[in-house]
Symmetry: C2
Subunit: 589 residues, 2 copies
């Protein structure tokens, strides 16, 4: 059909919105696709809704191809099922909760595992009913602490969430691969390059989990990959653990004065000045054992201090910490924490003291002590002596100190070996565009979803969960497809197939543009026709550039001679062609 | 495409759901279209979602034909705009309110006038931008006190709400008629008979307002209509006021003993025993003036008693009362109210007493006294004397008592004259299926939506608001289209175009059914194919009946001879036809 700009609900803006931090936010607002209603909450204008509908159509088609059926759940759901699985509490401040007039608790659902599980439990009871994959495209809510970057991290957003139900692990694998394949087709159709990386199942609590990341330097996520094909996000990366070293012949622990050395760098400089390194070289940060004090806040509100020991050339990675200690919330220990634990001497903390173990459950402080997996038995360290201005050296793991466990929280570096032996990894950045999980039996167990198997025995169902953020994808496409003039949509999701500009005041311009619009409409194209009678060509061109339909036809003075211009928004190329050839040329591209 | 029942997510139920009060609720649950999540909150299963999508498509097409553009607002909106228009308070307990993590107030929007107004204010500023009509199809929330009847009165529901913006009254009239015409086309396409009735704009606060009602004896709304073409819902009906009667020659007021006559009937019986009626006949209830004590609770929480005087042969109509006193909430006066106002003698209340006015602002009680418009000056009444066991007769309106105003709260009766002079009205019942309002300048005024007119002068925009309850319409169609076996959809909204049943165990049955499915798919039909290998024909027929696709093809034993049966779900007719003719026959219907 033909949509006329003279009546269309659109106003482009000359100025960037003051709160726009990223290109997609800036251009989607300026080009009239979305408008902010509250922090992280947007209204969709006609142009935005058209692009969103195109993305949804592609997703629906591929879900159908994957044998999934569409359902639709309400956003407003009762507390009970989320209470059963523990997520009512786990979500903390991250969800919107409310009460109805009868004081019953509800939430605006951030994700729907529980109610999909209950729905299948309600309808199905036999292995013959399985496998089943069902999905919805639905508006979800999360009360983000810092909604930002426009649609990239909003508080209301549209998701496609699919769930699979099987009664065998092999069945789950097949359902998982079917959704994973569908995701590949979806991102190919959307023109979005992707890398599939191993991910941590995190709070969703499952087994196999992969993310689809779009690799881009402006991505907010870091992932690692090896030339040999390994790819994982940093949260899921696992350290290759070195072989332990025999204690025989290792030097004895020595305590030494180390005035004014509360940092790794000052400690290394001091050690090189007063000690001699075992192999005759210099000490480096890698020879020191850094002890980081973290404060966990558990779901029940209790606060626990934990100390992590890691090589001094590494830091604690915030995202890896978050995943390692979830669902507890983690922060750095505060001055008050140190005051309450006078045995901890800031800048000089270590796992050993002359008077006995100071860390670990069997220790004077009772504080849990967790180690980076690289700190294997027999490794020898320079670390704090738990006395102000004092350190120890030749402190040997397994001989002089032990830990309560190991934890994967150190930063990952380029050159670290991939856990699958495929060589050293490099670091790259990307944006998450999809996520596939094997949930396993966690939700089915909690909510009692069982079916009768071939032998008439009740077995617990195993599930998968598969998500694509529709509005997030839209923003990412906008983020990747723009220039200094405005948006440039890929044809598969452009709000219109072609944008016709009547550029001039002569009647023939409008006559030709009108006829061309009708012809292209008849050819099945969705036409945006800039028929505004009193708007200058310059303003119309500017609007065409900002709106970003990839194919533009300029009908100008040469229309009288049957000539128009084809304008490629992406390359900027303009080409004069006979108006009679336009339909064919647009189809051919 | 072809959807196979062997994999489709569907389970029909043999039993009615225990909470189903109405046929639509019963069948939509039993046939696997919806599932309850919480009171008045439902999930949509694949069948239900298909019907809903068809209704939405029809609405979208007619909105586009009416020149309206689609937008989409979030359900979660900030308090501020609703505060400005006063609706944050007016909605009382009827909306869901919540706070975000920063303690800011939000609501789940029950309707979107405010934010549409602000959006247009944000984008437009000139008369040249108008007229504009924009709409959304969106999930809304109301915290109904008694959610019931399944989708008919839910707490989450899908609405199409459109809003028009004009700068002249004539423009508003044109926009209004354009939407009204679109509604007529929508209901015609949905196969829903309708009556357009005058409605009270009520809480929306506008001028012209009409409802589309589907006339049906099972409707929850009462409306009136005359043979001459008048139609209104009872809330909007206005009384034809009789001419006043001169006071000359009217009898003097007389107070009389009337023991044990606290009701109209006992009073009439007593009057006929002790008094003689003026025209020699008997007194009837119409000769008495009934005084009803109502308690209003205003928005600010204050409670006010109001007394309404009306002819004794009429009652106060709850819906008319609600509209007349909105936004105050109204209930009958309680025993406590009478205790606090000892001058009110229950059963013997009247507007007059021997010691002076007892009702009205200038009276001893200070209670407002409002009259039915029929109580014109010069009418003479038997009514309470404000003394226990005493009444008065020949009490003349305008001579012996006056009121603080008139109010339209009496019941409407068949035979009452239509206000437009088109004759007596009859009463009928219907279900509301759409509503069109002229809001006027109320919202634009409150929120500052002005544009420059032709003379460069700022003028306030005038608006219309137009709503169709999508999920409600779906339920109404289901309510009107079912029998003792299940649902029977009109073809325009049926979840599938045709339902093919492979009825038998022979391979030829499945081969023919398979080939027919493919043929009908190729012909552009949406096919539901019951290919379940081990399910008996009887169960398949039962499922076909409950699901309610109007056209069914039974592929049975005669398939070997190229014969199948066409089964019309509505009429029950079955006809044997050659399988080669099925496509053509289905198209021809």
């Amino acid at each position: 059909m033909v949509t006329r700009l003279s009546h269309f609900f659109l106003r482009t803006l000359r100025e960037d919105p003051s709160d726009a931090e990223v290109a997609s936010h800036r251009w989607l607002v300026r080009a009239g696709y979305i408008r902010r209603q509250a922090p992280g909450i947007f209204a969709w204008l006609p142009l935005g809704l058209r692009v969103k509908a195109k993305i949804e159509t592609i997703i629906r088609e591929e879900m159908t191809n994957a044998g999934a059926y569409e359902v639709h759940f309400p956003a407003l759901l009762p507390r009970e099922p989320y209470e059963v699985t523990g997520r009512w509490e786990e979500y903390g401040d991250g969800i919107f909760r409310l009460k109805d007039r009868k004081d019953a608790d509800y939430l605006l659902a951030p994700t729907h595992e529980e109610v999909f599980t209950l729905l299948v439990k309600d309808l199905y009871n036999s292995y013959k009913d399985l496998p089943l994959s069902i999905y919805q495209i639905q508006d979800k809510y999360r009360d983000e602490a810092r909604p930002r970057a426009g649609l990239l991290r909003g508080r209301e957003f549209t998701m496609k969430d699919a769930y699979s139900f099987d009664y065998t692990d092999a069945g789950l694998d097949a359902s998982y691969m079917s959704q994973r394949d569908a995701y590949e087709r979806i991102f190919q159709r959307l023109g979005l390059e992707y890398v599939i990386v191993q991910a941590d199942a995190g709070a969703m609590g499952g087994s196999r989990s992969e993310e689809f990341l779009h690799p881009t330097p402006i991505g907010e996520d870091t992932f690692v990959r090896s030339a040999g094909g390994y790819a994982a996000n940093v949260e899921a990366f696992t350290t290759v653990v070195p072989e332990p070293i025999p204690f025989d012949g290792l030097a004895e622990t020595v305590i030494f004065d180390s005035p004014n050395t509360p940092t790794i760098q000052t400690l290394v400089d001091h050690a090189n000045a007063v000690l001699s390194a075992p192999e005759g070289g210099d000490f480096t940060a890698a020879d020191t054992l850094k002890n980081v004090v973290l404060a966990l806040t558990h779901l029940d509100g209790t606060r626990e201090l934990v100390i992590v020991g890691l090589p001094g050339d590494r830091d604690v990675d915030d995202k890896r910490v978050e995943v390692a200690f979830a669902p507890a919330e983690v922060e750095q220990a505060t001055p008050e924490d140190f005051e309450r634990n006078p045995l901890l001497v800031k800048g000089y903390i270590g796992p050993w003291s002359e008077t006995g173990a100071i860390l670990g459950e069997e220790s004077a402080t009772g504080i849990r002590y967790l180690l980076d997996p690289r700190v294997v038995d027999g490794t020898s360290w320079i670390t704090g002596a738990n006395i102000d201005q004092m350190h120890v050296h030749s402190l040997v793991a397994g001989r002089d100190f032990t830990a309560d466990g190991y934890v994967e929280v150190s930063t990952v570096r380029a050159g670290d070996p991939a856990p699958d032996g495929s060589g050293p990894v490099e670091l790259a950045r990307g944006m998450e565009i999809g996520h596939v999980f094997q949930l396993g039996r966690k939700y089915a167990e909690a909510l009692g979803l069982k079916v009768l198997d071939e032998n008439g025995k009740l077995v617990t169902v195993t599930m998968g969960s598969y998500g694509i953020g529709v509005t997030r994808i839209l923003a990412i496409i906008a983020e990747l497809n723009n220039d200094e003039k405005g948006l440039i949509w890929p044809a598969s999701v452009a709000p219109f197939d072609v944008h016709i500009v009547a550029a001039g005041r002569d009647a023939v311009v409008f006559d030709v543009a009108e006829a061309l619009s009708a012809e292209l409409e008849a050819a099945g194209l969705d036409v945006l026709y800039d028929d505004r009678p009193k708007v200058s060509p310059g303003v119309k061109f500017g609007d065409a550039e900002i709106v970003g339909v990839p194919k533009i036809v300029i009908v100008g003075r040469a229309a009288a001679e049957g000539q128009v211009e084809l304008w490629d928004r992406r390359t900027g190329d303009r080409e004069v062609v006979p108006v009679a050839e336009v339909a064919q040329r647009l189809r051919a591209r």
